[in-house]
Symmetry: C2
Subunit: 217 residues, 2 copies
Amino acid sequence: MTEYYGPTPLATVNRLSIYLRTLEEAQSEGHKYISSKSIAERNGLTSAQVRKDLSCFGNFGRKGKGYHIQSLIQRIRSILGINRKWNVAIVGLGHLGEALAGYKGFQRSGFDIVAIFDIDENKIGKKYNGIPIFHPDDMKKVINRKNIQIAIISVPASAAKNSIEKLVDAGIEGILNFTDVRVSTKDEFVIKNVNLAGELETIAYYITRPDWQCRGI
Amino acid sequence: MTEYYGPTPLATVNRLSIYLRTLEEAQSEGHKYISSKSIAERNGLTSAQVRKDLSCFGNFGRKGKGYHIQSLIQRIRSILGINRKWNVAIVGLGHLGEALAGYKGFQRSGFDIVAIFDIDENKIGKKYNGIPIFHPDDMKKVINRKNIQIAIISVPASAAKNSIEKLVDAGIEGILNFTDVRVSTKDEFVIKNVNLAGELETIAYYITRPDWQCRGI
DNA sequence: AGTTGTGAATCTGTTCACAGCC
DNA sequence: GGCTGTGAACAGATTCACAACT
């Protein structure tokens, strides 16, 4: 029996979210236990990979039986750190910002969007989807007062760098960045970049080169 | 000199989009040449990685000088398959669908959104952002008539599986999937999944475990 | 029989370090 | 001196295969 569960592969962390959704799905189908094989099949993975991923965090399974869904859900939520509430801000209320502010999936994982920042004077002081809108100059104040840990950036590329600096200055802990801008920083925060055009470009690449096959990416 | 540029690492393909944006940025700053070191620094990568990535596709650089920006942009666009137009459909005109339909970044890379599908009778026959809205039952007809290669799925999870099946049946070549649903398929199409809640969950994980350090993800 | 957990083997991707060219 | 391109070394992630348990 292994006692030390050391640095976890980044790839494993990314898959935990997928496992969580699979478990919730299996539970809603009325299952009590699920095997690594079933988790794998539902996601186009191998069962060995599922077992190895989960074994990074402990011995959750029962041989011959599989994993107890209810308790594995709790475990994964705890591992991911979503067995609590997170306060989230959205910076930039364009189309994308509106979509993210209205996205139901965030609430379900314990992410509460509690503030929006935008430079449009017509929006400031009002609410969108029940969420108050502030001027970016008030970022530090609002982030501290509302105890916001994570920000989602959906501003135009030209405003991105400045927004990130302001957020870091305000003491934000994590940033989900939807702009093209990439920061290389030594500061103490976590940043994850999502490049929407890049996703389509990757698809175009694989369509163009069907021989170098790679279906699910 | 290597003549065969074989199966390219998936990770490399993903970075090509980043390089492309970096090159466009450097060009707009007035540069003619750029070194692998500069590309790397702008993105928090190593210069060796940039060189190795680019060397997958040919010898584009000039020793002692760097890469000619203008021609490297053309090369990468050609490699990615975006030196042409792609016709794209959006399936599901909720908040996210609207955001994607209005997203400027797609146009810039040659992705034209030419059709939207939604079940809302009040929307069908109208336009959003100048893009005509159709009933999903007409998918096969519209996709063929408008020569659509790629679809973006932003429907509720409950409708996702059906939408994917309809798209594949209509002969779609690539799908960008924003729903939780994962398909494991043997069919001849490329699918890429983007999990928005999962992105935030990964951030929560790394905030919760600051010791297992990993800043830019 | 069915399934987990895991060491070993394999595969994939990154970094090093330097020859070769400008 | 500066920079690319790349083989070799290294690190990371996946798959194999099987002992152990129910």
